[in-house]
């Protein structure tokens, strides 16, 4: 049998190049990590009919179906179509499965749908973000987490979005029981203290996690009607200089975040290293090369940050430079 | 209900002049406050202590028609306050509250008073009456403090020692201390009583001390109905409202703080 496969096209089509000759794995995109039971059943069917009967759950909340024969790719794409439609993935051409793989699955923790600490609907925002940025071949990682606990590890992404609420305090409902103060200290950042048996919040220290609201027995603390976000940028894993994303914007709104992430693609097109292997370069390395100000200029195009938003004019990242020295002393 | 509002507001405190301040220990002071109303030993006032707030304080002495003594411990926010400077100023008081001791019950026959620590305050008036009774030899008082430094009412103790059968003891003391060392319960078996079954007893102090003292008295043959205890509880109102002092169906501020043992034995926290 002649096997003549365009591997680059295969990869863009969201199939992994397997080390097993003649096999591939289908990468099912699941924005926000939420998939219907029906689609899950179809994934199972594909795995049983065309794969090796196993399903791999990926680090970024996607699903991989390994053991698929390369010649079965068109048939698998045909079966994936219902899943793609069910998960509402953008697609101009409905005959060939996923149209890109560069922009990675958008990750989200369960958020407010399940978690008592979730400050917003992470799933919905992740799905919206996926709609805005996919399909695209550029290597961009976006992740959403409901609160500052960062269970979704957004600090390892190019864009990490953390939910915030601005606690609203009604002193007439406060009995001075001190539970918010106690729990803020034990679970968060010690931003609260009792003064004359009422609570004072250190607005600079407060990270908007909402722990005070969760523990208040009287509804003296409530959440702001607005959902706010902290945007961390340019975190990454990898061989050269893995590092955590750092805070750039606080108390920012959803629409601004969407615009910023979308604007990033033009910045990448302009400045990506033309020699980058497979056209993949972590955005952070581009920012390191061309400067943070230039990045800001591009991504803040047509963005009007709300008045409440705090923006770091300088951002400093840490992380070890393994490409410069690699010892443990 | 509409007539309620014309009644005077029981929460409104009245100003009372501090006539004298006596310092007992590093922490404890007695304030002699101007007060001319009726009051009995064992009753208490809600006292507004500046920088601390209101606290229920037992009456530790009474000069009828003139003054009441209130023994206050410096705690919390007032740790560094020099209470000595309060003489001549006024404090806000409410009260007296509670039933207090019926002293006439104790002065005639045999009587034992066992008091621990600040528990001496509410029974000071009782002991005073026993000391002045016709039969002081039948009156036995055991007073215990944590250490020699914690002793309250030293001058009174000296007087009482001469007037009646006083046993003064401390839980612990530095080496070389000449007085009694040991818990108050240690002295109960040796109390020289003619007929414990008819003797009266008053017990005031920390809960474990009261518990074991009462057990000691019962084993000496005291009748439950002749044992009287005073309960200390948090009280924010003294008026049967705030709930903090409730034990079972009883409110210490209204029904106590002095309870007969037949009642208090069923009052479980």
């Amino acid at each position: 049998m002649i096997q003549d496969v365009n591997v680059k096209a295969l990869k863009k089509n969201a199939f992994r190049q397997s080390k097993v000759r003649g096999e591939t794995a289908s990468r099912v995109r699941v924005p926000g990590g939420l998939v219907s039971a029906k689609s899950m059943a179809r994934i199972v069917e594909i795995a049983e009919e065309f794969g090796n009967g196993e399903i791999f759950l990926t680090n970024r909340q996607g699903v991989e179906i390994p053991g698929i024969r390369l010649e079965d790719v068109p048939k698998v794409n045909a079966l994936l179509q219902q899943i793609i439609e069910d998960t509402q993935i953008n697609q101009e051409d409905t005959a060939h499965g996923y149209l890109a793989s560069g922009t990675r699955n958008v990750v989200a923790c369960p958020g407010k749908r399940l978690c008592p600490f979730g400050c917003y609907d992470t799933t919905a925002f992740a799905q919206r973000m996926d709609h805005e940025i996919f399909p695209n071949n550029r290597h961009v990682k976006v992740a959403f987490t409901g609160c500052s606990n960062d269970c979704a590890h957004v600090a390892l992404n190019d864009f990490g979005i953390i939910g915030m609420t601005e606690p609203q305090y009604d002193p007439t409902r406060c009995i001075g029981c001190g539970q918010c103060v106690n729990w803020c200290q034990r679970r968060s950042v010690s931003a609260l203290r009792l003064v004359n048996d009422k609570v004072v919040r250190d607005e600079d220290r407060c990270i908007g996690c909402g722990v005070c609201v969760v523990y208040c027995p009287t509804r003296a603390w409530t959440r702001s009607p607005e959902h706010y976000f902290r945007l961390k940028i340019m975190g990454r894993t990898g061989k050269q200089n893995p590092r955590l994303a750092e805070d750039w914007l606080r108390w920012v709104d959803e629409d601004s975040i969407v615009k910023i992430v979308k604007n990033t693609y033009a910045f990448i097109e302009e400045y990506i290293n033309p020699d980058a292997p497979e056209g993949k370069e972590h955005i952070g390395y581009i920012v390191d090369r061309v400067g943070f100000d230039e990045f800001c200029k591009w991504v803040l195009k047509d963005v009007e940050l709300p008045e409440k938003c705090e923006r770091a004019t300088r951002v400093y990242w840490g992380g070890k430079r393994y490409d410069r020295e690699n010892d443990l002393r | 209900m509409s007539s309620q509002t014309v009644q005077s507001n029981p929460y409104v405190p009245f100003p009372s002049r501090v006539l004298e301040v006596v310092r007992h220990t590093k922490k404890e002071y007695t304030f002699r406050m101007a007060f001319s109303g009726d009051v009995r030993p064992g009753q208490f006032f809600e006292v507004s202590v500046p920088k601390f707030g209101e606290a229920p304080i037992s009456v530790s002495g009474i000069v009828p028609g003139e003054s009441v003594d209130l023994t206050i411990r410096r705690v919390g926010r007032v740790t560094n306050e020099m209470f000595d400077t309060y003489a001549g100023q006024t404090l806000l008081l409410r009260g007296p509250y509670g039933n207090g001791f019926d002293v006439s019950r104790y002065v005639d026959g045999e009587c034992v008073v066992v008091a621990g620590g600040t528990g001496v305050s509410p029974v000071r008036g009782v002991i005073e009456a026993l000391a002045q009774s016709a039969t002081p030899a039948d009156k036995h008082v055991i007073v215990g403090f944590r250490s020699p430094d914690d002793m309250l009412f030293r001058k009174d103790l000296e007087r009482w020692d001469k007037a009646l059968d006083l046993t003064l003891t401390v839980d612990g003391a530095p080496e070389g201390y000449a007085g009694n060392v040991g818990l108050v319960t240690k002295y109960i078996p040796d109390l020289p009583l003619r007929d414990p079954s008819t003797a009266q007893a008053v017990v005031v102090g920390p809960p474990p001390m009261m518990h074991f003292t009462v057990l000691g008295l019962l084993s000496r043959g005291f009748a439950e109905k002749n044992i009287w205890v005073s309960q200390e509880r948090k009280m924010c109102c003294g008026l049967g409202k705030c709930g903090h002092c409730r034990i079972g169906e009883k409110y210490v501020c209204l029904d106590g703080p002095v309870f007969n043992y037949t009642e208090s034995k069923d009052m479980l926290d």
Binding site: T172, Y215, T218, T222 | Q4, V75
Partner: protein, 351 residues
């Protein structure tokens, strides 16, 4: 006299009542619950029936108007004490001396709870002036219950039928409303805006999913019964059960000092809970009931035993709010049943 009203008619009636009364009712506070985008239903002043949450049980009870969560009682200066003025009701802006009487919309169980509040604040020792002052201005409107909510146990507590003392009732009737007006003085306001007159009986609950048996005798041995032990670890001592309870009355005094010498400031009282740390702390440093299980015992026995010993009837009215609010899924109803089982077991032993 009973009236049938459409929504517009009812709102015109409420407008007319608002000439003479403030209206205080359960309100859905959107997004003000514990969790993101979760509502809470609690009491507030309203103007129209659109403001009133008629279909859900209020998470917090009406008692906040009678015993505010936080209430300033006095301002004190170097030599004098001034009583704080005003209704002291939550939500009424300071300085607005609106002294109209208030109509509180509540359900049958809560109207039974008023008797418990009165018992403590008007009885049990001298009258509480601050309570009486508000109480004098409070009237009631009965919200009918055509069904029980999931955690209600009003039948077993005997509180499913409202006692007397309400001015008028309010029930949904098809698209509109039905009101029984007990107070003749208010009848014209209804008559003028009604679609028609009709005999109206406020709906009341006739069936509960939850059943509770209260103990008929509690032996002292129950205090040490192991039934309380599980709450040492299960209960987090947050006190929500007491805060939402329409019959819990405890409060704590707080003094606030404006000056360094502590002689100028204000005194307020705030609602307290016997479940929360510090409830029993005395100045000397001692405290009672340190374990959560002991606190649970203290609270539960009060509701279904101690109060009855003192006043002749049970404190708990079976509204089930404590069960609804507990973040640890501790059910008061379940504890009462366990308690009663344990009491009966002890009694059987004695026989």
């Amino acid at each position: 006299m009973g009236y049938v009203l459409d929504k517009e008619g009812l709102n015109r009636t409420l407008d007319a009542l608002s000439e003479d009364f403030l209206l205080y009712a359960p309100v859905r506070k959107v997004g003000e619950g514990r969790f993101t985008d979760v509502d809470v239903v609690r009491y507030d002043f309203v103007r129209s029936v659109d403001d009133i949450e008629l279909d859900a049980k209020s998470d917090y009870s009406f008692k906040e108007i009678l015993t505010p969560l936080s209430q300033t009682l006095f301002y004190f200066t170097e030599d004098e004490v001034h009583e704080a003025g005003g209704l002291g009701a939550p939500g009424s802006p300071a300085g607005t001396a609106d002294d109209r009487p208030v109509i509180v919309f509540l359900r049958a169980c809560d109207l039974h709870a008023v008797r418990r509040l009165d018992q403590m604040y008007l009885g049990n020792g001298p009258t509480d002036t601050f309570y009486a002052r508000i109480r004098d201005r409070v009237r009631f409107a009965l919200l009918g219950c055509d069904h029980a909510f999931a955690s209600c146990f009003c039948l077993d507590m005997g509180t499913n039928v409202a006692p007397e003392g309400w001015l008028f009732s309010l029930d949904r009737a098809g698209e509109g409303f039905a009101c029984s007006v007990a107070d003749d003085a208010l009848a014209p306001a209804f008559a003028a805006n009604a679609q028609g007159e009709k005999d109206v009986t406020p709906a009341h609950v006739t069936e509960n999913e939850v059943h509770v048996r209260v103990p008929s005798k509690v032996p002292n041995s129950i205090y040490k019964d192991p039934l309380w032990d599980e709450y040492d670890s299960r209960c987090i001592e947050c006190g929500r059960c007491c805060i939402v309870c329409p019959t819990c009355t405890c409060f704590t005094m707080q003094d606030v000092f404006y000056t360094d010498n502590g002689r100028v400031g204000e005194r307020r009282r705030v609602q307290a809970s016997c479940m929360i740390d510090g409830y029993t702390d005395v100045a000397g440093g001692a405290s009672y009931r340190k374990k959560a299980g002991e606190r649970m015992r203290f609270k539960v026995l009060h509701k279904v035993w101690d109060f009855r010993q003192r006043f002749g009837y049970d404190m708990c009215v079976g509204c089930g709010r404590c069960d609804d609010v507990c973040p640890e899924y501790i059910s008061f109803a379940a504890i009462v049943n366990k308690l009663t089982d344990a009491c009966e077991c002890e009694e059987a032993k004695d026989e």
